[in-house]
Symmetry: C2
Subunit: 219 residues, 2 copies
């Protein structure tokens, strides 16, 4: 059976998270063409069948175009579709979300960053997309090393503790957190590297693995 139906438009959109000033933020882009020209929106674009190997490659292309480098963590979020979501017609948007340490964005002129709880009105179904992305981020934070990808390569136990609290949105006991994280082996001490300040120096750690590690759970 050959497809005799008019094919939908196929695009990718991206939710690019970072944490700035202890707040979860998203990178938005100002649309340069209609529809919704001039509005802030999630970075995205059509799939280029000639150059993109798959939709993930398309998302990487979009992200590189936006921030100039690859995100340390990228994952497919969900595919949004339907006749109503885009005025240009029945469309499919494969959405990816990425985590980007704020340190690597600072000073980047194209990075317009907004706290997720203070976003401007967004076009298309982008508010729905954001809601789903935040939900996924929060969910995965509770059982994986995900939040660590919001930190720079070196961080202290307290940095990690704080970023877990921020992404999950709940208080976590310090002693238990430390214990659990060390037991899980997702991070490793950097020998003889400490962060100093007007206080006792803090051990610096780094992720043991460049990829997300899920924790075990039981029912």
């Amino acid at each position: 059976m050959e497809p005799v139906y008019p094919q939908p438009l196929v695009m990718v959109d991206t939710a690019l998270f970072t944490i700035r000033d202890e707040r979860l933020c998203l990178i938005l882009t100002r649309r340069k063409e209609p529809p919704f020209e001039g509005l802030l929106a999630l970075p995205g674009g059509f799939v280029h069948a000639q150059e993109d190997a798959d939709t993930e490659a398309a998302a990487r292309r979009v992200i590189r175009g936006k921030i100039g480098f690859d995100a340390p963590y990228l994952e497919q979020l969900f595919t949004f579709s339907g006749a109503a979501r885009d005025p240009r017609g029945w469309s499919v948007s494969v959405v990816y979300y990425a985590l980007i340490p704020w340190a690597s964005l600072e000073g980047n002129p194209s990075a317009e960053v907004f706290p997720v709880d203070g976003l401007p009105p967004l076009p298309f179904d982008h508010e729905q997309i954001v809601a789903k992305a935040v939900e996924r981020l929060r969910g995965k934070a509770t059982y994986s090393s995900l939040p660590a990808f919001l930190l720079p390569a070196e961080f202290t136990m307290n940095d990690l503790h704080r970023i877990y609290e921020q992404t999950i949105g709940a208080r976590l006991d310090k002693a238990s957190f430390r214990h659990k994280i060390l037991e899980l082996d997702i991070i490793e001490e950097m020998p003889n590297r400490f962060r100093t300040g007007a206080h006792r120096p803090a051990q610096l750690y780094r992720l043991s693995s460049k990829v997300l590690t899920p924790f075990e759970r039981k029912i």
Copy 2:
């Protein structure tokens, strides 16, 4: 910017799970047209932009066409894409997975059911899809009411216990399981309904909610 690029083909595929004889199975369909005519494959088809409200509606249409009714649990799994996965060209397949109690399939002539660990060779990237679907099913089983959707509306604690063990693939302590499940409030007793046999009658339960309930976890 109007899309000047050739648009990819857009289809949906479905992974329809059931448990038969204590084994996790998938419903396959025999392809009636090329490519791969005559082979067993995951049920799927092109999105019909005129009639389908979105890809989930398309998946429901495919499922109804296959088993004759709606699946009690349906969820988007992942979107597979690329130039190589379908000989007809650059394609996007939005894949959904569904859980269907075996009791509702028994006797259905169109239901060709195969254990997931004994599937025939599958066309396209369907083996990859199956792997991802099984992984998701197993994953969600450990922290949600998901496995209960493989059971009929009424079930005993032991039915539930067994189906959790089967989907997770590990032994679970009976007493702890019972305790945890009751504490979680995902099921409710059906007053005065018991399953009898050559033994003490077993209390019948039903799901408290028609939708999947995730359990709380902490890091």
